[in-house]
């Protein structure tokens, strides 16, 4: 049971993707920060063009600038920063399409033009009501563009590694009771891995084989995720293992026992 609004998307690959929908509060905070930035940019523009005098050209440039700041800011950042404006980044949010794909220019443009209607009559009451009322927490712009705003907080890899899957080390890994021979020496040979399926093992092998090619962040996340999934299927003294060492152990134990 969870108190977040979650949405499950079935991908063509047969994998169910679970996304956590952003709520009203975090979206409000993100919008507030974005609006402050846009407001600051408009004031800066006013100063720059004010220095140029009040010619017709300066006034025209001012209105073009305001238009670009109000619409371009969101569209450019959402398109080129994987659906995250500065406010959304700070609030840990991301805009994605209904199927979880990243937003493109057109989708982003639609949702940000319809923002005018969401904003009416002042600071998003229409948007707030539609977010509250639609089950996928969409404002009108999201409905028009078919987009979702999801929670997407990326933890730093170091933090992810600090929170070791298999509970903080109570005792250090104990020595095996009765090693049969040299290769069976390792502590993971004590683990009961019979619940780990052949498919699981194949996935773990695949990860272990290509982990050197991964960046540290994704590598840590993936290791942590896989270890979390496999952990419940393994019985034995497994507290305090580093995720990757744990995965290596599971694969080794599995291959020993066939």
């Amino acid at each position: 049971m969870t108190f977040d609004d979650r949405i499950t998307i079935s991908t063509p690959e047969g994998v169910d993707l679970e996304l956590v929908l952003a709520g009203l509060g975090s979206r409000f905070a993100a919008a507030l920060l974005d609006l402050l930035i846009q407001f600051g940019a408009i004031i800066a523009l006013l100063f720059v063009l004010g220095a140029a005098g009040d010619s017709g050209v300066a006034i025209a440039l001012f209105f073009i600038g305001v238009f670009l700041i109000l619409f371009g800011y969101d569209i450019v950042l959402e398109t080129w920063n994987s659906g995250r404006t500065v406010g959304k980044l700070a609030a840990g949010l991301r805009v994605v399409r209904g199927g979880g794909e990243p937003v493109g220019f057109l989708t982003s443009a639609i949702r940000n033009v319809v923002r005018i209607v969401d904003f009416l009559p002042a600071f998003y009451p229409v948007g707030m009501i539609t977010i509250l009322v639609t089950t996928r927490n969409q404002r009108l712009g999201d409905l028009a563009a078919g987009t979702l705003v999801i929670r997407d907080r990326r933890r730093a890899p170091t933090q992810a590694y600090a929170a070791v899957v298999v509970a903080p080390a109570s005792p250090p890994v104990p020595a095996p009771a009765a090693p049969l021979d040299a290769p069976y020496d390792a502590p993971y040979m004590e683990w009961d891995v019979s619940a780990v399926t052949a498919d699981d093992t194949a996935v773990l092998r695949h990860f272990l084989a290509r982990r050197a090619d991964l960046d540290p962040g994704p590598r840590a996340h993936l290791a942590l995720d896989l270890a979390g999934r496999v952990r419940s299927k393994v019985a034995g003294p497994i507290d305090g293992w580093h995720p990757e060492a744990f995965l290596e152990g599971v694969v080794a134990a599995k291959s020993r026992r066939g």
Binding site: M1, T2, F3, D4, D5, R6, I7, T8, I9, S10, D16, L21, G98, G99, V117, L120, P121, A122, V126, I129, T130, L132, V133, T134, T135, R136, Q138, L140, L143, A144, G146
Partner: protein, 136 residues
């Protein structure tokens, strides 16, 4: 596959394209607040400041200008002035009553176009009043 795996509350599956799934529970709550407000507002000593910034600063009405007055008028049985303030008020009050009567329904699916045409029609009406110099 997907629909079978997930019966947990708070878990949402994508509705068919072009449809929105509307959760009626927050709508009910907002509707009750609106009705209480509609009866309480005339008792308060405030004489309609223009809250809408669009109308306040440019004079152009937004689709929702007159919504408060429309709902208040309707709550006091004045259908005609409610319609002239904002016909959307009648639609909103009718919807809220429907939602309150059908208390046990939790979710409905609406075609997305209905929501957008509602806003477009309201704005068209407001701009018609504005361009023909009728009282907003």
């Amino acid at each position: 596959m997907a629909s079978a795996t997930c019966t947990e509350p708070g878990h949402v599956h994508a509705p068919a394209a072009g449809r929105v799934e509307v959760d009626l529970r927050p709508l009910r709550f907002l509707g009750i607040v609106m009705f209480v407000g509609a009866f309480a507002l005339p008792l308060l000593p405030l004489d309609g400041p223009v809250l809408c910034p669009l109308r306040r600063f440019t004079g152009v009405p937004c689709p929702f200008c007159g919504m408060t007055r429309g709902v208040v008028a309707l709550a006091h049985g004045d259908l005609f002035s409610s319609l002239t303030f904002n016909p959307g008020a009648v639609v909103v009050v009718a919807l809220v009553i429907a939602v309150l009567v059908a208390w046990r329904v939790q979710r409905v699916f609406l075609p997305t176009w209905t929501i957008f045409s509602f806003f477009v029609l309201l704005w068209a009406y407001q701009l018609f009043k504005y361009t023909t110099d009728r009282p907003l």
